[in-house]
């Protein structure tokens, strides 16, 4: 069997931290009762464990625990935020604003609402991938109910000016949803201080299990439920709560944040080593601003090669991606929004470094690219 490829795709998914797997373990059995079974002790113990985990998550994000709604992941959280808020504020207006470089879990719910008759403004970004808050200000209308802008881009890692957007939305009384899937767990994020009304997050992006995420609501913000049933989560999201996954989510977030500054600094050094090494090969350009940007992200376009061949050749050695995993191979809409052609977007690589990435991985990755590049050109 060939050696496993070097995994540099931590923005698609991270391995579930063994300490998180261990933290979940007892709750598969001890907490096996249904947390909604409040009549009996196992059910109450399970419900209490959910609330402890909710409190930990709330504390990590500096929000009241009542604002935390557990979901199956960021996609569900984004859908609940966007459709749920617009449905709850139908009388206030039917216009929403988002950005061309958002994840599909944001863009598609917005387009769904547009098909139902909502006005939708999709703002462009600059060549650096950043949204100009003045552009956003100009797009707001009296009937605008929601602005959705991600914290960190999943493909190019750039960090949007959340505080400025939050302040602007606050002044206009417009709800601000932020898809935080790529930033939560990588750096401290306090949504309320940034004026974020709705924040989506996903466990498996920061060492937690797949199948769990959350929507975090600022006090006073309500959403219409999108899953109907037993009225769990304050009527905002029905369905039996997956206690072990919830415990795993809280544990993973605490662990991810505990060493986030040191990890970020280390990954930034590795990322720069990768970037300088790639740039030294010639004909490789970085996509998106280098600052402000996630320290563990790099996205480059390889000039003069066919994208399909590039990815096919690299695949054996390197686990990187051409864009969002959720787009399954279509040329990146994010890179095209920066002004790249389809061909250039297809010939691009996203590197996502993570906790397990070391210097040797970077050097091997560089060696692979430098070895394969001449033949590709």
């Amino acid at each position: 069997m060939a050696a496993a490829p070097i995994y540099l795709d931590h923005q698609a998914s991270t391995p579930c931290d063994p300490a998180v797997v261990a933290a979940m373990a007892p709750w598969w059995t001890e907490g096996a009762a249904n947390p909604s079974s409040r009549g009996h002790r196992p059910g109450l113990a399970a419900a209490a464990a959910v609330e402890v985990a909710r409190g930990r998550l709330a504390q990590a994000l500096a929000v009241p625990p009542e604002g935390v709604v557990f979901t199956s992941g960021a996609t569900e959280a984004d859908n609940l935020a966007i459709k749920g808020l617009c449905e709850a504020r139908l009388e206030r207006g039917r216009h929403l604003v988002t950005v061309a470089t958002e994840h599909r879990a944001v863009l598609e719910p917005c387009r769904y609402l547009e098909r139902l008759g909502f006005g939708l403004t999709v703002l462009p970004v600059g060549p650096d991938g950043l949204l100009d808050p003045d552009r956003l200000a100009a797009a707001l209308r009296p009937d605008t109910v929601l602005v959705s802008v991600m914290a960190a881009n999943n493909e190019i890692g750039v960090l949007q000016p959340l505080a400025a957007i939050g302040a602007l939305c606050g002044r206009h009384g417009v709800a601000f949803h932020c898809d935080g899937a790529q930033l939560v767990g990588q750096a401290p994020l306090r949504p309320l201080e940034l004026g974020i009304d709705l924040l989506s997050l996903s466990g498996h992006k920061f060492g937690g299990p797949q199948g769990i995420g959350a929507l975090v609501l600022a006090p006073g913000v309500t959403v219409a439920p999108q899953l109907h049933g037993g009225g769990h989560e304050g009527g905002r999201r029905s369905g039996t709560l997956p206690l072990p996954l919830i415990v795993g989510l809280a544990e993973a977030l605490d662990r991810a944040l505990a060493d986030a500054p040191a990890r970020g600094a280390r990954l930034l050094r590795l990322r720069e080593r990768l970037r300088l090494g790639l740039e030294a090969l010639g004909g490789i350009t970085v996509n998106g601003a280098l600052d402000p940007r996630l320290p563990h992200n790099l996205n480059v376009t390889v000039q003069g090669v066919d994208g399909g061949r590039l990815h096919r050749e690299l695949r054996r050695w390197l686990a990187v991606s051409g864009g969002s995993a959720c787009s399954s191979g279509a040329p990146s809409h994010v890179l095209q929004a920066l002004g790249l052609s389809r061909e250039a977007a297809a010939a691009s690589l996203r590197f996502g470094l993570g906790r397990g990435t070391g210097e040797a991985d970077i050097d091997q990755a560089l060696a692979v690219v430098s070895r394969l590049l001449p033949a590709l050109r």
Binding site: A4, Y7, D9, A12, S13, T14, P15, C16, V21, A25, W28, T29, A32, A33, S36, G39, H40, R41, P42, G43, L44, A46, T71, S72, G73, T75, E76, D78, N79, H103, R104, A105, E108, P109, Y112, H204, P209, Q210, G211, I212, Q226, L227, H228, G229, G230, G231, S238, G239, T240, L241, P242, P244, R316, A319, S321, G322, A325, C326, S327, S328
Partner: protein
């Protein structure tokens, strides 16, 4: 945990399921949508789960859509199909779980007419009454395979054939049935089937919707193209592996475990019915083998509060339920018991005991005496 008799609310995962998931967390943690090797391996593992699940349910041609659980599967079935059809009449069993009943209520807000099917005192739908109701404007039917609260099994094969002959799609919430009784979609032509892993010793946080070939539905969530575009969001591969392993283990054991639990249940019921004041609810023969449901009465025949009984038993280390866990936050009378003709007071006097593989006669031995001793301490059920 004391004596756990609430398997219909949740079951502890089988140790082999936990082992399979632990292995999967280490091997198949990559994003199944990623095109690189770890991603492709995760995707292959997920596809094997999909095929295996369909085969375990006798439906190799059905599409399997993994969801976060039974509630999402029910919502996806009703809203996903309902929103694709012209609003018409939706026939609904009156014994449905809130996940189905509330999804139907949402369809009603979107222009559908929701009609509850008549059931007998045992909770069964009579196929003779049912057939004529399939005439226009009926466009969709949803009937739970087995009732969560009273354990009644519906005559699904007959009902499904009638729906098929009338050309009306049938959804069945089989959350309580899968893993407890044979569910063979090859023999029972249900078009949409919901299930949830944690009811058969699989993990929490995953379920599935099975769709008959050719049936098109709308997604509830929008985003990436996962699950054939019907359910975007990164798939939880380890949970899917846990679900399939749990069901495979269950079905392998079912031929002996079903009759064993059924016999345990029957012996327990016989002893309980010997206590003055206790009555059974739901069907006698056509019921889930692990399910026992009672109506509580005083010696004088006054209905007693089921929720108080749940709490009193809990204080003595016995976990049971007064109805579906998902409606336990409310104190309204049970809709299922009202539907089978109970008065409001009787509909607050329900008690459900549901057994699992961890139960044997010895574990159940003290229960009738305990319950009998508690009855005089229970308040009367609210008659309003």
């Amino acid at each position: 945990m004391g004596l756990y008799l609430d398997a219909c609310a949740a079951t502890p995962p089988h140790p082999q399921v936990l082992a399979a998931m632990a292995e999967a967390q280490a091997r198949f943690w990559a994003n199944p949508s990623s095109l690189h090797t770890p991603g492709v391996e995760a995707a292959e593992a997920l596809e094997r789960c999909r095929q295996e699940l369909a085969e375990l349910l006798g439906a190799p041609g059905h599409r399997v859509v993994f969801t976060s659980g039974g509630t999402e599967a029910d919502n996806l079935a009703l809203l996903g199909l309902g929103r694709r059809l012209k609003p018409g009449r939706l026939l609904l069993s009156p014994l449905e779980h809130p996940a189905v009943a509330q999804a139907a209520a949402q369809l009603q807000r979107e222009g559908w007419q929701v009609v509850l099917l008549p059931v007998g005192p045992d909770g069964r739908i009579d196929p003779t009454d049912f057939g004529p109701l399939l005439a226009p404007p009926t466009r969709l039917v949803s009937i739970g395979w087995a009732s969560s609260e009273i354990g009644t099994l519906q005559p699904m094969a007959e009902l499904a054939r009638l729906c098929r002959d009338a050309g009306v799609p049938l959804h069945s919430d089989a959350v309580q049935a899968v893993g407890q009784v044979p569910v063979d979609l090859g023999a029972v032509p249900v078009n949409l089937l919901s299930l949830s892993a944690h009811k058969f010793q699989g993990p929490r946080g995953i379920g599935a919707l099975l769709l008959a070939p050719g049936l098109e539905i709308e997604p509830l969530q929008h985003g990436g193209g996962q699950e054939g575009g019907l359910r975007p969001g990164t798939e939880a591969v380890a949970l899917a592996i846990g679900l399939v392993r749990a069901l495979a283990l269950r079905l392998e054991a079912l031929p002996r475990e079903g009759p064993r639990l059924g016999a345990c249940r029957d012996r327990l019921l016989e002893r309980l019915l010997a206590c003055p004041g206790l009555r059974g609810s739901g069907a006698q023969g056509q019921r889930l083998p692990h399910h026992l449901s009672l109506l509580l009465r005083s010696a004088a025949g006054v209905p007693l509060c089921g929720r108080s009984a749940v709490r009193a038993l809990a204080r003595r280390g016995v976990a049971v339920s007064s109805g579906s866990a998902c409606s336990s936050g409310r104190s309204s009378p049970s809709a299922s018991l009202l539907a089978i003709g109970c008065t409001a007071a009787e509909a607050r006097s329900g008690l459900r005991l549901s057994l699992g593989p961890w139960i044997d006669d010895d574990a159940l031995a003290p229960l009738p005496g305990l319950l009998e001793s508690l009855l005089p301490t229970l308040p009367a059920a609210d008659p309003s």
